[in-house]
C-alpha cells in the first residue's frame, strides 16, 4: 500500500513555522480572490453561466468534440485521440521520433503531469525542459508540483536559491526573488531559442472554431510555441467549450478565482500553425468517460483548474500538496483521483473536514464537498477502507442507533474523564495528538434541558 495522506501530512507539519507560512500564504491568495470577485457585482451570475455552459457542454460532448476535430483539422492542425495516459505518451513520443527531435520545452500542463509524460520520455532517453518558473524549480529538485497553479508554493526562497546555485550557478545565499527569476529568465531564454518542439497544455478548446486558448503570466507557453517548428497541445476532452463568446465568461472567472488577478498576462488564441510549423492536438480520455458515467461525480469534469478550492481548503493549506500523492492535489483532486484508481486514492476523500468552502469558491459551481462525502460511501461499500475504520464506524452506528446505550456511554465518558484523565490524555488516543482534551461537562445537554424545561414550567 502507498503512503497515505495522513502520514504524508504528518511529515509536512513537523516543521511548524513552515506550515504556518504555507497556511497564511495560501489564505492570502484566497483573500485576493475574494477582493477580485467582490469587484464584480455580476460575480454570482458569472459562476452560474460558467456552470451552465459546462453542463451544456457535457450533455452534448460527443458532438462538440466532432465539431472541434473537423474545424481544427480544416485549420491545418493534426488531431490525435488517446484512450489513456500510455497512448497519450506514445503519440507524443512518435512525433518526437519522426522529427528526430532533441530539444523540447514544455509549459504548464497538468494533463502531462497526470500522464507522467516527462518520466516516460526520460525512460526513452529524451529530456524535457519545464519552462514555468515554479515547474522548473521543482523539476531541478526532482519533485512533482505541489499546487496546480503555484507549483513551488511548498518551497521558501532559501530552497530556490540553493537549487539555483547548484543548477544555474547563481550566487550562494542570494535569496532575492528578483535575482533568482532573472537567472531563470536567462537560462530558459536559451532553451526557448534552441527548441525543436514545444509542448503546451490547453485551458479552453473552442468547438465552433477549432482553436484553443492557453493562459500564462510568464509568457512561457508563447515563447515555446512561436519558436519551435513543432507544437503539441495536450488536453483532456473536458476542456471543450461550445463557442468563442463563452471565453468571456471563463476568462473573467479563471484568473480572478486563481490568483485574484483580473486576467492572466497572456491569453493566447491558437487557430492555425504558422507557415512551416506543425501543430498537433492530443485529446485524452484517461478515465474521463468513466467519470462522465458516474452521475454523482460527473460534474467534477466541469473543473477549469483554477485551484481556488486548494487555497481555501483548511486541510490543503496545512498539509501541503505532496501529501495528496497525486498530480492534481486539493479538494478537486480528491474527487477526480478515486475515479482513476479507487484503491490507491481511497484515503483522499477522507482528507477533508467537509466544511464546504471549496464548493462556495468554485467558479463553475462543482459541489466538491458533497462529492467528497459521496466518494466516502462508495469507497467504504467497495471495501477500500482500513479494517480499524470499518470496525469503529460499525461501533458508532450501533451507539447512535441505541439512545439508552448512548446516554450511558456519555455518562461513563464524562465520569472517567473527570476521575481518571490519564485514560484519555495519553498517546494511544489519536484525538489527544497535538490537542488538549476538553474539560468534561458536568452533565449532558439532554440532562440540562430536561432540568431547565421543568423549572421553567
Amino acid at each position: 500500500m502507498t503512503v497515505k495522506h495522513a502520514a504524508l501530512a504528518e511529515k509536512f507539519i513537523a516543521d511548524e513555522p513552515r506550515t504556518n507560512w504555507h497556511d497564511e500564504t495560501l489564505w492570502f491568495v484566497r483573500e485576493k480572490r475574494d477582493k477580485a470577485a467582490h469587484g464584480l457585482p455580476e460575480w454570482e451570475q458569472l459562476r452560474e453561466w460558467g456552470s451552465q455552459i459546462k453542463n451544456a457542454t457535457l450533455s452534448n460532448l460527443a458532438n462538440y468534440l466532432k465539431e472541434f476535430e473537423a474545424k481544427a483539422t480544416a485549420n491545418g492542425i493534426t488531431v490525435h485521440w488517446a484512450s489513456d495516459a500510455k497512448e497519450h505518451n506514445e503519440i507524443v513520443h512518435k512525433i518526437i521520433k519522426k522529427h528526430g527531435i532533441q530539444k523540447i520545452v514544455k509549459s504548464k500542463s497538468m494533463l502531462t503531469e497526470e500522464c507522467h509524460l516527462n518520466e516516460y520520455l526520460q525512460h526513452n532517453g529524451i529530456e524535457v525542459v519545464d519552462t514555468d518558473l515554479g515547474e522548473r524549480i521543482v523539476q531541478f529538485r526532482k519533485e512533482p508540483p505541489s499546487h496546480i497553479v503555484l507549483p513551488a508554493i511548498h518551497l521558501k526562497k532559501e530552497d530556490v536559491s540553493a537549487t539555483f546555485h547548484e543548477h544555474l550557478q547563481t550566487q550562494k545565499g542570494n535569496n532575492d526573488p528578483q535575482y533568482l527569476t532573472e537567472a531563470a529568465r536567462q537560462h530558459l531564454r536559451n532553451k526557448f531559442v534552441e527548441s525543436d518542439l514545444a509542448i503546451t497544455g490547453v485551458n479552453f478548446a473552442i468547438a465552433e472554431t477549432g482553436g484553443f486558448v492557453v493562459c500564462t503570466n510568464e509568457g512561457n507557453a508563447d515563447m515555446g510555441a512561436h519558436t519551435a517548428p513543432v507544437h503539441i497541445a495536450c488536453m483532456g476532452f473536458e476542456k471543450l467549450i461550445p463557442k468563442a463568446e463563452h471565453l468571456s465568461v471563463f476568462l473573467r472567472l479563471l484568473a480572478r478565482s486563481a490568483t485574484g488577478q483580473p486576467i492572466t498576462t497572456y491569453s493566447s488564441h491558437f487557430h492555425k500553425p504558422r507557415p512551416n510549423q506543425e501543430m498537433h492536438i492530443v485529446i485524452v480520455d484517461n478515465g474521463r468517460s468513466k467519470q462522465l458515467a458516474r452521475e454523482d461525480f460527473r460534474n467534477s469534469l466541469k473543473c477549469i483548474r483554477c485551484a481556488a478550492c486548494f487555497n481555501t481548503c483548511p486541510v490543503y493549506r496545512r498539509s501541503g500538496g505532496h501529501s495528496y500523492h497525486t498530480a492534481v492535489a486539493g479538494p478537486i483532486g480528491s474527487i477526480l483521483n478515486p475515479n482513476l484508481d479507487m484503491k490507491a486514492n481511497a484515503d483522499l476523500p477522507f482528507a477533508s473536514t467537509l466544511c464546504g468552502s471549496c464548493t462556495n469558491v468554485c467558479p463553475v459551481k462543482i459541489n466538491i464537498h458533497e462529492q467528497l462525502w459521496k466518494w466516502r460511501q462508495v469507497i467504504v461499500s467497495e471495501g477500500y477502507v482500513a479494517g480499524s475504520k470499518k470496525i469503529s464506524m460499525k461501533g458508532m452506528d450501533f451507539l447512535f442507533s441505541n439512545p439508552k446505550i448512548y446516554r450511558l456511554m456519555g455518562k461513563m465518558g464524562r465520569k472517567s474523564m473527570q476521575l481518571f484523565p490519564f485514560m484519555v490524555n495519553n498517546r494511544f488516543n489519536i484525538w489527544f495528538k497535538q490537542r488538549e482534551m476538553p474539560t468534561p461537562p458536568k452533565e449532558s445537554f439532554r440532562d440540562w434541558y430536561l432540568k431547565n424545561k421543568k423549572s421553567q414550567n
Partner: protein, 194 residues
C-alpha cells in the same frame, strides 16, 4: 476500433441528457462611467503604464530617435513610418535581441487592462513576447467595458493567432513575491490615442 471511436462511443453512452446552452446577456454586467480611467487604473495595478496622446505622430519622433540610437527596435505600425516587415523571417535567436517593439492593438478591455492583438498586427507571433520592452497603441474609442463586449467585436478565428496581453510578463513563483519580467516583456507601455 480506434481510440477515437472508443472515446466518442463511451462519451455518447455516458453523457447526461441534453441541456441547452445558456444565453449570455451582457447587458447585466458591470459598466464603468469612464472606461479609459478604469482601463488605466487596472493596467497600472498589474504593472503596465498608460499615456493618453492626441496624435500617433507624437510617437514617431520617439521611434526615430530610438532607431538612430542604434537599439534594435521593431515597428509594425504603418502610421509610425516604415514597417519592419523583415521580422516575419527572423529566427528566434535574432528576435531575442529585440529591445523594443511597437504594435497596434485592436481592442482594450477596461475591466482587466488587456489588449487584443491579431497576428497581422504583430507580423511575427513571437515579437510581442520575446521583445524586452513592449509598446502597444490603441484608440480610445476601442476600449470596451468587459470581455463580453470584446468578444462581440472580435473574430478570434479570423487569423491563425491572436492574444490578449495585460501588462508585462510576471511571476510570483518564488514565495509569492511579484517579479516583473519572467520570460516575456519586462515592461508594457500602452499609448491610448484620443
Amino acid at each position: 476500433m480506434s481510440a477515437r471511436e472508443n472515446i466518442l462511443n463511451a462519451i455518447t453512452m455516458n453523457q447526461p441528457e441534453f441541456i441547452e446552452i445558456p444565453v449570455i446577456d451582457s447587458s447585466v454586467v458591470i459598466q464603468y462611467d469612464d472606461v479609459y480611467a478604469q482601463f488605466k487604473t487596472v493596467l497600472e495595478s498589474i504593472g503596465g503604464k498608460t499615456e493618453l496622446i492626441t496624435d500617433i505622430t507624437a510617437l514617431k519622433e520617439q521611434l526615430t530617435a530610438e532607431k538612430e540610437n542604434g537599439s534594435f527596435v521593431v515597428n509594425t505600425i504603418s502610421a509610425l513610418g516604415e514597417v519592419d516587415e523583415q521580422v516575419a523571417f527572423l529566427s528566434a535567436s535574432e528576435l531575442e535581441k529585440v529591445e523594443k517593439a511597437y504594435i497596434k492593438g485592436t481592442i482594450g478591455v477596461a475591466e482587466n487592462g488587456a489588449i487584443w492583438v491579431y497576428e497581422s498586427q504583430m507580423i511575427n507571433r513571437l515579437v510581442p513576447f520575446i521583445c524586452q520592452h513592449l509598446v502597444l497603441v490603441i484608440e480610445k474609442k476601442n476600449i470596451v467595458n468587459t470581455l463580453h463586449q470584446a468578444y462581440e467585436k472580435l473574430d478570434v478565428s479570423k487569423e491563425g493567432f491572436g492574444t490578449f496581453i495585460a501588462g508585462p510578463s510576471k511571476t510570483a513563483d518564488i514565495e509569492q513575491s511579484l517579479v516583473i519580467g519572467a520570460h516575456g516583456a519586462r515592461s508594457a507601455m500602452i499609448y491610448v490615442i484620443e
